[in-house]
Symmetry: C2
Subunit: 569 residues, 2 copies
C-alpha cells in the first residue's frame, strides 16, 4: 500500500513549511476551546478532548488523503457519544471506558470498510436525511447547553430543558448569567461585526476571517483571567476544574465491564456520520485546489485516527467542517499542518493545563451554541418540500425522530425510509405513448408534445428498469392499451429508459409476447441498451419474439408504419 | 362495493349451470383425497381439510374475481402451517387452535391489503424467489411423507428423514410398503399411461385429462375397499381413523392460550404466498378466456375465504394450481362451480365420513408426493443462472435457507435479498460516452458502435435514475472524463434513461455544474423526460445551469459541435 504521506512529503519545502506552520498556529488556538467544549458535551472530562486532538491528527496526517482536513472532536459525534453512553446508563469510569470503546469500534468499522474498498457507503445516507439529522442534532446540542449556560442542573430529555429551566429560574446565579450573556454577545458579534471592523482597519479578508475564528480563544483567555482575578469559582460559577497536565498515556477499554454488543450499532452509525461529514468537506476543499480525495483512503485515515483516539484516552473524532475551512483559508498545504497542530495541542496540554481549570464552563457552552446554531438549516426543509415530497418525508422523519426519540433511531429510520421510498417510486413506473416529433427522428410523449402517431403502430416508452416489483404493471399497461386500440397491428417497446431487465421481468415480456401473438399483434423492441441486449441474448426472448429488435425507434417507425395513414394529434 | 357475484349471476342460464355442475363433480372427487391429505400434511385431523373445502369456497364464490379458481387447502400452505405451529411446539388442542388462528390472521391480512388496494404486494416476491421457495417446499413435503409411506415415525428435520428411515429399516411393515409401492406406481402411471390409454379408447382429450385427475379418487375408493375387506388396520397399516360425520360448526381460536404475537409474521407470509400462487394461476386461466381478474378483489376474495376457514374449523386456503386447471378444463364457467363443489364436499362429509376412516394413510402420502414432485423445478436454476447471476443468487438463497432452516426464514431472506440486489445494481450505474450513428439522428455507445464523435463536445449517457446512492458516482464519472479530455468545451448529459432525480442527485448536478463552470466547460442536458423536467423547474438548476436544456441530443450536437472538426472513431 502506498501512503498519501509518500506523495506530499517528497515535494515538501520551506515555503510549504511556513504556510503549514501558520495554519497550524491558528487551528491550534481554535481547537483548544473546541476540544474542551466537545469533551464536556460528550459528558467526558476536558482532557479527553485534548487527547483526541493529538495522536488522531498525526495518524490522519500519515494515512488520510485530504490535504487540508482538520481532524478532531466535532459537535455531532460528541452528541452521539453522549446519547449512546447515556442510554446504557454508564457512569464514572464505565462512561470513560465506553467512550474509548466507541472510538475504537468506530475506528474498526472505518478501517474495515476502507480495506474492503466500500467507500460508496457514504452515499447511502441521502442529503435530506443527513440534513435532517444535522439540524435535529444541532437543536438538541443547543438545548443541552441551556443547563451549563444558566448554571443549572437540567435532567431529562433536552426538549424539556426550557420548561425545566423556567421552573428553576430562581436558582440561576447572577454571575453565571452575566458571563453567559456577555460570552454569547461577543461570539455572535465577532462573526459579523469583528470581521467588518478588521476589514475596515485594513486587514486582508483572509487574515480577518482567521482572526474572527480565534474569537473563542480570546474569550477563553479573557475568561481565565477574569476567573482567576475575581475568584469566580467561589461566587458559584461552575469552572472546568482540574485538567491534568501532561501527555496522553496508553489506554484500552475494559471490555469485560462493558455491554459492548450494544455499542456495535451505535459505533457503526458514528463511523457513518463521521465519514459522511468528513468526506463532504474534504471533497469541497480538494475541488477548490483541483485535488482529488479517495473515499477509500479517507476511510482508512479516519479509521486509524479513531483507533489512535481510543488508544490514547480520547473520544471519537472526524474532520470538522469549520476547522477544516479555517485550516484551508489559513494556507495549510499538506497534512503536516495537522501534525504541527498536534504538537501545538501537546504543548498546550503540558503548559496551559493548570490555567484551564479556572475557565467558566458557561463560556464553553456559549462556544458550542454559537458553533452549532448555524447548522440548523430551515431553508433545506423549504427547498426539499418544493423539489420532492418523498425526499421531504425522509427529511422530516429523520428530523423528528432524532429530536423526539434519539439520534440512532432518527438516523436509521431516515436511511431505511429513503431506500423504501426509492423502491416505491420504481414499482409503479411512468410510461408514455410516444410519437414522432415532426422534422426529427425523435419520439416524445403524445400528451406533452405535438407528435405524429400511426393508427396501426403503438410506440410505448416505459420509464423504469424492468424488475420484479414493476414487471406486472407492464403487463397491465400493455393489456389496457391494446384493448383500447383494436386497430393496432404492431407494438414497439422503446427501451431507452430500461437499464436492466431481471428474470421476473423477462417472464413478463415473454408473457406479453405470447398474448400479443395470440391477438395477432407484432411485438418489437427498439433502442435496447448494449448491456441489456447482451443479457437478453442469453434468454429465449429473441428467438420467441413475434417481431424484431430495432436499433432505433425511427427505424421501426419507417418499417412498420404505413406512411399514408399517419395522422397528427 | 360491487360484488363480482353481481356481474356473473345476471347472465346465468341453464347451459352454464350444466357446465358448472359437471366441473363441480370432477373437482369434488379430486378435492376429497386432497383435502384429507393436506390436512394430515399440516398435522391436523382429516376433517379440518374437509371443513376448509366448504365455507371458504362459498365465500370465494361471492367475493372472488376469478371465474375458475378452485380454492381450498394446498400443499405449500399446509407445509407452512405445520412449520409454524411445529416451531411453537404446540400440541393437541393448542395445535388446532393455532391453525384456526393462522387462517383467521392470514385472512385478516389479505382482507386488509385488499381494502387498502395493495394488490401490487404480490410483485414483491420475485419469480426466482417464489420458484426457489416452491422447489424447496416441494422437496421438504416429499421428504416429510417418507414416514407415512413406510409406516415409520421419523422425528426431526425432514432432511434427516432418509438416513433415519434407513436406520429403522427393519421396522417397516410389509403390508404398508406394498400399499405404498402400488399406490405410487398407479398414480405415476396414471399421469401418462392412463391418459394415452383413454385417448386410444377414443375418449376426447378433455375428458381423458379429467379422468386422469380422478386417479387419486379411484385409489381412495380401492383403498377403502381393500382396507375393509382385509382388515388392514389389524395388520399394522396406519389408517386415517375416525372422521366425524356432519357439517362444520362455528369455531373461534382461544387467543389467550396462544402465543399469537408469534403468529403475526408467519400469517403475513402465508397470506403473501397464498396470494402470489393464487393470483398467478388465476391470471393465466383468465387470459385464456380473455377475462381479467382484479388483484385487489382477489385479495378480498381470498381474505374472506380464509376468515371463513378459520371460523368453521378449517385451515389456511388459497387457489390451488392443479385443481383450478382441472376446474377450467372440465368446463367451469362461473364461481358457482366452486359453490357446487362445496355442496359436494358437504355431502361427502355427511355420507362418506364413516368410510374414510378405513383409508390407509400411506395412500394419502402417495397422493401428496406425486402431486408436489412436479413442483420442483430444476430447469429454473439453470435458466436463471444463464440469464442473471443476481437473480440466481436470490433463487439459491431462498432454496437453501428454506430447505435447511425453515420456510419463513427462507422466504424472508429471499425477499430482502432480491430488494438489496436491485438496489446494488442501481448504485453503480452503467454509463457510456455516446456518438452520432452515421445517417441517423441517433446516438449510441462509442465502444459498441461505429459513431461520429466531436473533440470539443462530450456526450454522456448515464443508464440509471439519479438518486442518493449513485449521485456521487456521477460526479466521479464527469470529473474523470473531463480530466482525460482537456479539449472538451461542452458536456451534454443525455437523460433518456434518467427516470428520476432526487434531492441528493440534484445537489450533485449543481455541484457538477459549478465545477464545470470553473473549468470553462458548458454543461447541458438533453432528452430530459417530462416528469423529470417538471420537477427540475422547481429547483435552482435551470437558472444556474451553465448551458442549455435541449429537447434532443441531436439538436445539442448541431448547435454545439463545430462540424469541420468531426472525426470518426
Amino acid at each position: 500500500m502506498r501512503l498519501p504521506l509518500q506523495a506530499w512529503s517528497r515535494e515538501y519545502d520551506r515555503t510549504i513549511l511556513a504556510q503549514d506552520l501558520a495554519a497550524a498556529v491558528i487551528v491550534t488556538l481554535m481547537l483548544i476551546p473546541q476540544s474542551l467544549a466537545y469533551a464536556l458535551l460528550a459528558g467526558l472530562p476536558p482532557e479527553a478532548g485534548l487527547y483526541a486532538s493529538i495522536l488522531p491528527l498525526v495518524a490522519y496526517g500519515v494515512f488520510g488523503s485530504s490535504r487540508t482536513l482538520s481532524v478532531g472532536p466535532v459537535a455531532v459525534l460528541s452528541l452521539m457519544t453522549a446519547s449512546t453512553l447515556g442510554q446504557l446508563q454508564l457512569e464514572g469510569v464505565h462512561y470513560l471506558n465506553g467512550a474509548l470503546a466507541l472510538a475504537l469500534m468506530s475506528g474498526g468499522w472505518l478501517l474495515l470498510f476502507g480495506l474492503l474498498r466500500l467507500g460508496f457507503i457514504a452515499h447511502f445516507i441521502s442529503h435530506p436525511v443527513m440534513s435532517g439529522f444535522i439540524s435535529a442534532s444541532a437543536l438538541l446540542i443547543t438545548l443541552s447547553q441551556l443547563g451549563p449556560l444558566l448554571g443549572l442542573r437540567l435532567e431529562g430529555h433536552p426538549l424539556l430543558a426550557l420548561p425545566e429551566a423556567l421552573r428553576q429560574w430562581s436558582a440561576i446565579g447572577h454571575a453565571t448569567l452575566a458571563i453567559s450573556v456577555v460570552s454569547l454577545l461577543w461570539l455572535l458579534w465577532a462573526r459579523k461585526g469583528l470581521r467588518t471592523l478588521l476589514l475596515r482597519l485594513g486587514l486582508g479578508a483572509g487574515l480577518a476571517g482567521a482572526l474572527v475564528r480565534l474569537s473563542p480563544a480570546l474569550l477563553v483567555v479573557a475568561g481565565i483571567g477574569i476567573s482567576e482575578l475575581f475568584g469566580l469559582a467561589a461566587l458559584g460559577v461552575a469552572v472546568v476544574g482540574d485538567v491534568p497536565a501532561g501527555i496522553p498515556g496508553w489506554s484500552w477499554p475494559r471490555w469485560s465491564e462493558l455491554p459492548w454488543p450494544q455499542l456495535v450499532l451505535p459505533s457503526l452509525l458514528l463511523a457513518l456520520v463521521g465519514f459522511v461529514e468528513s468526506v463532504s468537506v474534504g471533497q469541497t476543499l480538494a475541488a477548490k485546489r483541483r485535488q482529488r480525495i479517495s473515499a477509500n483512503q479517507e476511510l482508512i485515515g479516519l479509521g486509524v485516527s479513531n483507533l489512535a483516539a481510543g488508544l490514547s484516552g480520547g473520544m471519537p473524532v472526524t474532520g470538522g467542517f469549520a476547522r477544516s475551512v479555517v485550516n484551508f483559508d489559513a494556507g495549510a498545504r499538506t497534512p503536516a499542518a495537522g501534525i504541527y497542530t498536534a504538537i501545538g495541542i501537546t504543548l498546550a496540554g503540558l503548559w496551559l493545563a493548570p490555567w484551564l481549570g479556572a475557565l467558566p464552563k458557561t463560556m464553553l457552552a456559549a462556544t458550542i451554541v454559537v458553533a452549532v446554531l448555524g447548522l440548523v438549516d430551515w431553508r433545506q426543509f423549504f427547498h426539499t418540500w418544493r423539489y420532492s415530497r418523498s425526499d421531504f418525508t425522509a427529511l422530516c422523519l429523520t428530523f423528528l425522530l432524532t429530536l423526539l426519540v434519539n439520534v440512532e433511531i432518527g438516523l436509521l429510520t431516515g436511511i431505511v425510509a429513503s431506500l423504501l421510498l426509492h423502491l416505491y417510486h420504481s414499482y409503479r413506473p411512468h410510461w408514455a405513448e410516444v410519437g414522432l416529433l415532426e422534422g426529427t427522428e425523435h419520439f416524445r410523449n403524445r400528451l406533452r408534445h405535438r407528435v405524429t402517431l400511426s393508427p396501426s403502430l403503438l410506440c410505448l416508452r416505459v420509464d423504469e428498469s424492468l424488475y420484479f416489483a414493476n414487471a406486472g404493471q407492464l403487463e397491465d399497461i400493455v393489456a389496457t392499451l391494446v384493448s383500447l386500440r383494436p386497430e393496432v397491428r404492431h407494438l414497439v417497446l422503446q427501451c431507452s429508459a430500461v437499464n436492466r431487465i431481471d428474470a421476473s421481468a423477462l417472464d413478463s415480456l415473454l408473457m406479453i409476447n405470447e398474448r400479443l401473438k395470440l391477438a395477432g399483434i407484432g411485438f418489437h423492441l427498439a433502442e435496447v441498451k448494449g448491456p441489456v441486449m447482451d443479457r437478453l441474448q442469453q434468454s429465449p426472448l429473441p428467438e420467441k419474439l413475434n417481431g424484431r429488435v430495432f436499433l432505433t425507434l425511427y427505424q421501426a417507425w419507417l418499417q412498420l408504419s404505413p406512411a399514408e395513414l399517419d395522422y397528427v394529434i
